[in-house]
């Protein structure tokens, strides 16, 4: 990865070439990355690799017309050509109606989400960890497949108006799917952290193996509405769609779940359970993020939902200007947590009369943006609970469920401690109702 000086030096060189070529405004970004991974399936390592890459992107404006060019060659002539190409494209492009001058000098916090251990992967340690995971799968009589990855990047941006920013970030992840030898059970577990040394592959694998064993010989149940407990992974699988709904422009323009009749928005309404808070915070100790938005706004804690009330929406620089307000300092991650004492998943199970325990969801898609109605399927672990105890595994089910209805004041019964599922930090949830529409034969 490049250093701060190397990264911003390339940005400055391209900016200089862009100005010479006729650009009136410009932003140049440089990202250098390290990626390393090992993949396994059928209880053996199948592929592994390591790559280093470098990308330069210049976006320029000429007469309010925008052009952009990207490349990976940082030799002097190549950078000059890249800038000239961006300017040529701008000259033949239509006027950029949403042009906002690039930001000037701003102050940013230091990124907290970087660990050198993730950038410099200890390959021997990785091999030993995966060896232990594969042994555990063989010993348990299950077939394991999984993925161990570590990425790190150094990204810098400079603008013609004097903005300069540089951040390092990293991400390590490990996931395992274990399938029982009779083909009727499947379990999945995953973890991630910006610091590779904080990952525990053995613990993650143990969870997946146990789920595979416990999910054998599932029984079918009729589709319908059931009380459910969603493990954090299942909540994360649904929360991505919620994150996208906080955009202010779509709400203001009447094409969002947070639009209201009469051209208004639903900001200020209690749409969620009163114990729920949803916010973004680049300085969060467990789930930190780069302390700047993609547009260069310095990021800070941004409350979206407080005490169940929709408090803020996300304003881009353009839409903030149109609405005569400031752009929002995020979101750069999404944290969902409950106020008050969290409830553990075992306690949620113990308190459930009848319902389902859900490990995760798969192929989740937004069906109706008006209600944040999603469809998808359960996968890798679904169990029937009765009288406070897990009774038996259940065949997978397809759901059609609104996220807004799911998190509504009347539907949330208990909230767990949030867990990291990058870029989310989400809790387990116990819900009064969740709607399933058909049975799946898939294991």
């Amino acid at each position: 990865m490049l250093t701060r000086d190397e990264t911003l030096g390339i940005c400055d060189t391209v900016l200089r070439h862009a100005r010479t070529a006729g650009a009136e405004d410009a932003t140049v970004s440089v990202r250098s990355t390290l990626e390393s991974h090992a993949r396994f399936a059928d209880n053996r390592v199948t592929t592994s690799g390591r790559s280093e890459d470098l990308g330069v992107t210049a976006t320029v404006w000429v007469d309010r017309k925008r052009g952009s060019a990207s490349g990976s060659d940082v030799s002097g002539g190549a950078l000059q050509d890249l800038a000239a190409e961006a300017v040529r494209i701008a000259r033949i492009s239509p006027v950029h109606r949403e042009y906002v001058p690039t930001p000037g000098a701003l102050t940013y916090a230091e990124s907290r989400g970087f660990a050198s251990a993730t950038a410099e992967v200890d390959l021997d340690a990785r091999a030993r960890a995966l060896g232990g995971v594969l042994d555990a799968c063989r010993t348990a009589g299950v077939t394991g497949a999984g993925f161990h990855s570590a990425t790190a990047s150094a990204a810098g941006t400079a603008t013609a108006n004097g903005n300069r920013r540089f951040f390092q970030s990293s991400e390590a992840g490990f996931s395992v799917t274990a399938r029982s030898s009779d083909g009727t059970g499947s379990g999945y577990a995953a973890g991630d952290h910006f610091d590779l040394t904080r990952l525990d592959p053995a613990r993650i694998a143990s969870q997946a193996v146990q789920k595979a064993i416990d999910s054998r010989q599932p029984r079918p149940i009729e589709p319908g509405e059931y009380p459910v407990i969603l493990e954090p992974q299942a909540v994360a699988d649904l929360a991505g769609s919620l994150a996208q709904a906080f955009d202010a422009r779509t709400a203001d323009e009447g094409r969002s779940a947070f639009s209201a009749p009469g051209g208004k928005t639903r900001v200020g309404e209690r749409l969620f359970h009163e114990r729920l808070a949803i916010y973004s915070d680049p300085m969060h100790p467990v789930m930190p993020a780069v302390p700047a938005t993609d547009e260069g706004i310095p990021a800070s804690r941004l409350s979206l939902v407080r005490a169940g009330v929709l408090e803020n929406l996300e304003y881009s620089r353009f839409w903030a200007r149109e609405q005569k307000r400031d752009p929002t300092p995020g979101p750069v991650n999404l944290i969902i947590e409950g106020t008050g004492e969290p409830t553990t998943v075992p306690a949620m199970i113990a308190g459930m009369e009848r319902g389902l325990l859900i490990s995760r969801f798969w192929y989740v898609r937004l069906v109706d943006a008006r209600t944040l109605m999603l469809t998808g399927l359960t996968r890798d672990g679904l169990w029937w609970i009765e009288k406070g105890r897990i009774q038996h595994p259940v065949r997978n089910l397809r759901f059609n469920q609104s996220v807004l209805a799911m998190l509504a004041p009347w539907n949330v019964q208990a909230i767990g401690a949030p867990e990291r599922r990058s870029p989310l930090l989400v809790p387990a949830l116990k819900l009064s109702g969740f709607t399933f529409t058909s049975v799946s034969d898939a294991v």
């Binding site: 990626e35 991974h37 993949r39 399936a41 059928d42 199948t46 592929t47 690799g49 790559s51 890459d53 077939t143 497949a145 999984g146 993925f147 990855s149 996931s175 395992v176 799917t177 399938r179 499947s186 999945y188 323009e253 009447g254 094409r255 639009s259 209201a260 009749p261 009469g262 051209g263 798969w362 192929y363 989740v364 898609r365 937004l366 069906v367 109706d368 943006a369 008006r370 209600t371 109605m373 469809t375 998808g376 399927l377 996968r379 997978n396 397809r398 059609n400 469920q401 709607t435 529409t437 058909s438 049975v439 799946s440 034969d441 898939a442 294991v443």
Partner: protein
Amino acid sequence: MTAADRAAGDFQTRPVVDRAKLLGWEYVEDYPWFQDAERAGHEVVEKLKARPVSPGRYDVVVDPSQLFLAIHESVGHSTELDRALGWEANMAGTSFITPTDAGSLRFGSPIVNLVGDRTQTAGLATTGYDDEGVKAERWHLVREGTFVDWQTTRELAPLVGQSRSHGCLHADHWSSVPFPRMPNVSLEPAATEVTLDDLFSGIKRGLFVEGRGVSSIDQQRYNFQFGGAVIREITNGRLGAIVRDAAYQSRTPDFWASCDGVGGPATYRLWGTSADGKGEPGQTNAVSHGCPPARFRNVTVLNTGAA
């Protein structure tokens, strides 16, 4: 394209049709962009005013603009041999087809013939040779309703007793590991001319599904739910008004077994998707699916607005 009734706080979206092909700039110049956009504008307004679908069982005629996606998800991915062997178990999933099923598994009705083809003109997965130098070819995956063959690479072919790969190895980037990727997978048309009106005729209560809507399918490619850009009623063989909030849901072998009509050669169209994801680290692949419109009987339809 989205139309909003801001007074009522309501809106509907109609995806503008995208029809990617592996062709030169002349395709961009010849493509009817404005007609597409104008039609989408009219239809999204009609969709906003449309009545919600009544859920239940319908005979469904699926246009190539949506059927290509159903083929991609239910046929393209289920016939990948690496999935059946568990090599994708941690991400994309496995398959309801097992490695010993070729030649015996009933996949659909006898009129269903599906081919893998990396030689098809304008196909996004068309090539001369794959990433390990195997010459591109065309072969049947499903013949007269029976699953007969897999998508293979040189590593995979011997595992099902074959001496030659079907040429499906591909990497999307210099830094990506080449691995099995989907060829163009297409539904063959009927031998004789069968028109859309022929497919509509005899349907008392049906729906005609056009364009790309929401798609979701399980990790073994059994249970799926597909929407459409525009869905119209068919009543007594005649096409009617747009309905909103409709999606059809089925199980892959049941769906293809319920196929009792496919369009003729003149109705065949090639559609494609430019971003099919698979693998860890994730790779994307561009792939085409050709098909005529086809009719499926007694399919479950949901009202997704009320689900």
